[in-house]
């Protein structure tokens, strides 16, 4: 059986979630791998959510928000835009390929684009393979030792 990535998506209520809705009503075809969690704003996405999702077995996490300047909450997406690269650095240091965490802007009218983003992300994670977190990843001391030894998943 081929590998089916298990993906978690955090979609902002106003743009991306509506865009995903539009993808549905427009019958846009995209892989069913992404499981969506609705948040009011991409600014609500706590980096801990991403780490938690990866720890619980997600192979990748997609965060979608409004295009810059279009945020329903004025600037929540800018906060997300600053948090996500740091989160990606963080998961990189944990030995996880940062490509498994992705931020995309999807507006309420971009149902087709949402489908494309999901398809593309699914294919990328499929090519990266399943995220294999080792036991040591959950034990700080062991993780330090392993990281010193291996230098990360794709080092």
């Amino acid at each position: 059986m081929s590998f089916e990535p298990n993906l978690v998506g955090f979609l902002c209520n106003w743009c991306s979630y509506t865009g995903a809705d539009l993808a549905g009503t427009a019958r846009v075809k995209y892989p069913p791998n992404l499981k969506v969690i609705r948040v009011m704003c991409s600014g609500r996405v706590d980096p801990n959510f991403i780490l938690d999702a990866l720890a619980r077995g997600a192979d990748g996490v997609l965060v979608c928000g409004c295009h810059p300047g279009d945020c329903h909450y004025v600037e929540g997406n800018y906060k997300c835009q600053r948090r996500l690269p740091i989160t990606r650095m963080l998961v990189g240091e944990m030995g996880i390929d940062p490509r498994r965490v992705r931020l995309e802007w999807v507006s309420a009218s971009e149902g087709v684009r949402f489908g494309e983003v999901v398809s593309e992300f699914t294919e990328e994670i499929r090519s990266l393979g399943p995220l294999a977190l080792q036991e040591w990843a959950f034990d700080p001391a062991a993780a330090d030792a392993q990281l010193a030894h291996q230098g990360g998943e794709h080092a």
Binding site: N6, R44, S109
Partner: protein, 584 residues
């Protein structure tokens, strides 16, 4: 001004002291003929036709000119005595010796009983009343006219008798000239302000068009004399209600409102880039809006359907779906065109004897009574061709001059057709305003791919938007016809009213709360909040959220290093539970 009592032809009247006798007579409805009087410039008593007898309190009688004789207590004015009539005749005869053939003079001569002026009949056209000179100086402020020379050689001219830049071509002199001596001519590349443009009113102050809302005149500062010279303001002097202000300027006002209804409408699709239709290149190819304007009784042709040469067309083609249902322009259906195109056909049939061709892709007569109207059109003998107009070209030599050929594929007859017509109406698409995106951004709502504002929900929230208190009405949301726009507008107004009439806003219970016990007082969240809903309590050294200001985005909750902020309905544990749920 103190009031004085005078009598005119025995009738008493109370007037302001120093006001002119002519005005008192006018107020009493007594006609005193005059050639050189204009209410808004100082009287000059040049024509001397307005002579009357004035008798003061001591009984002394004098001949005076009514236009500039000031009223004083107790004077008696006599306007029709034999002496007055004789003086008027004399004065008029002298004017006629200079210029006899002017209609205004001959008419007056008839009234005063002059058959043959005693000192001959002159051929000049100017009576030297000086109205033009005075209006140019006092009202317009241009001072472009003056008298030159003296005595019988006196005449009106521009400074140094040359074409003068001092003249602003306003036409006030020509409008006031009693004899028609002054004419306006365009020369040296300068445009006359009040030139005859047939497409609409172009006076400096006018109602823009008949059905304008608000239906009030407006001043066009490009043409108004006041804005060129600082003078005039005659309109303000004439207006009895003192409505006219020349100092009013465009300004931005901040209004504090509770609800907003967006009804920004649409813009018309410009068919010029679609070269195949020749709009702007071929004669008598017009858009639906231009046809509508021409068809309007208050329009340029007074409601007549005419070609550029002023003749009635013999055949008209109406092309549907120009710019809509077109992958090269807008993919959507503009929704209103089918029905107005049928209306056009009906109007053409009603007003002219022209053949009408409708070229359509699909006829969408979806509304109440619309299908019936379509059948009525068919009975009226309109040629309805299923096939989109593909191209418009000039007819060859075998056709009369000016013939246009509309090429299309008649998909029902399965053949190519070339229809000779005299006029083509392009039913252009409704298009989202070019700045719709900026407006949407300003109100925190979104626009779709076509530029129309997105409603809260396509079925359950077609009037409201994702921003509370902002509603949509009309075509700005999507193309719709008048009944639909009215329905949506009524809905928007009702929803806005229901919010306002309550006087208080219901929150949906989603907001952030900060746990005092956990908050470290770092104030990181204070700056994260775009609504300044988070304040800092200096005594407790903790932050707290004002639930009325909080819009529940949760950015603070995600940023709190202590995890002290709980975004209600989207709390951490709820989202963790969701993650756990979908990954288990």
């Amino acid at each position: 001004m103190p009031k004085v009592n005078i009598t005119v032809d025995g009738r008493p009247i109370e007037v302001e002291e120093g006001s002119y006798v002519l005005q008192a007579a006018e107020a009493l409805g007594i006609d005193i003929p005059t050639l050189c009087f204009f209410k808004y410039v100082k009287p000059y008593a040049a024509c001397r036709i307005c002579v009357v007898e004035a008798r003061d309190k001591r009984g002394r009688t004098r001949m005076v000119t009514a236009c500039n004789y000031p009223a004083s207590e107790g004077i008696e004015i006599l306007t029709r005595t034999p002496r007055v009539m004789a003086a008027r005749r004399l004065n008029l005869e002298m004017l006629m010796s200079r210029c006899a053939s002017m209609p205004v003079l001959t008419a007056l001569a008839g009234k005063l009983g002059i058959d043959q002026p005693r000192w001959g009949t002159g051929t000049d056209t100017c009576i030297l009343c000086g109205l033009c000179v005075r209006v140019c100086d006092e009202i317009v402020g241009a001072q472009a006219l003056g008298f030159a020379s003296r005595g019988i050689d006196r005449f009106v001219t521009t400074p140094f008798e040359v074409d003068s830049d001092a003249c602003i071509l306003c036409g006030a002199c020509a409008a006031l000239c009693p004899t028609g001596h002054i004419r306006m001519e365009e020369a040296g590349g300068r445009d006359v302000v009040h030139s005859e443009i047939t497409l609409g009113p172009n006076a400096a102050i006018a109602v823009p068009f008949r059905q304008a809302v608000p239906n009030a005149p407006r001043i066009d500062p490009d043409f108004c004399v006041h804005f060129r010279t600082g003078g005039c303001k005659v309109c303000a002097a004439v207006c009895p209600k003192e409505c006219i202000s020349h100092d009013d300027v465009e300004r931005f006002e901040d209004l504090e409102v509770g609800t907003v209804v967006l009804a920004t409408g649409y813009q018309d699709f410009d068919p010029t880039p679609m070269k195949q239709y020749g709009y702007g290149r071929l004669p008598n190819v017009i858009t639906s809006m231009e046809f509508e304007r021409m068809n309007n009784a208050a329009g340029s042709t007074g409601g007549k359907i005419l070609m550029e040469n002023g003749k009635e067309p013999g055949a008209i083609a109406i092309l549907h779906c120009i710019g809509s249902r077109d992958q090269n322009a807008h993919p959507y259906c503009s929704r209103v065109c089918c029905m107005y195109a049928l209306k056009f056909a009906h109007l053409v049939k009603e007003k002219t004897s022209a053949e009408v061709y409708q070229l359509y892709i699909d006829l969408r007569a979806f509304g109440k009574g619309y299908e019936e109207f379509f059948h009525r059109i068919l009975e009226e003998g309109v040629n309805v061709i299923r096939g989109k107009g593909a191209e418009i070209v000039r007819g060859g030599k075998e056709y009369p001059e000016g013939t246009l050929l509309v090429r299309c594929e008649d998909t029902l007859a399965a053949k190519f057709r070339e229809i000779p017509v005299d006029m083509v109406v392009l039913c252009t698409a409704l298009e989202a305003n070019h700045d719709a995106k900026d407006v949407a951004r300003r109100f925190g709502i979104s626009v779709g791919a076509d530029g129309w504002f997105i409603e809260r929900h396509p079925k359950l929230g077609p009037v409201s938007t994702t921003t509370d208190g902002v509603f949509l009405a009309g075509v700005c949301q999507s193309p719709k016809d008048i009944p639909d726009a009215v329905a949506q507008g009524s809905g928007a107004a009702a929803q806005a009213m229901s919010l306002m009439i309550r006087g208080e806003v219901e929150m949906d219970g989603a907001y952030a709360v900060i746990d005092d016990e956990v908050c470290s007082g770092c104030r990181l969240c204070n700056d994260l909040c775009p609504y300044s809903a988070i304040g800092f309590d200096e005594t407790k050294k903790t932050s707290s959220v004002n639930p009325a200001l909080c819009k529940a985005c949760g950015t603070c909750a995600a940023g709190c290093p202590s995890g002290a902020i709980r975004a209600l309905h989207f709390a951490d544990e709820q989202i963790y539970a969701e993650i756990e749920g979908i990954l288990s």
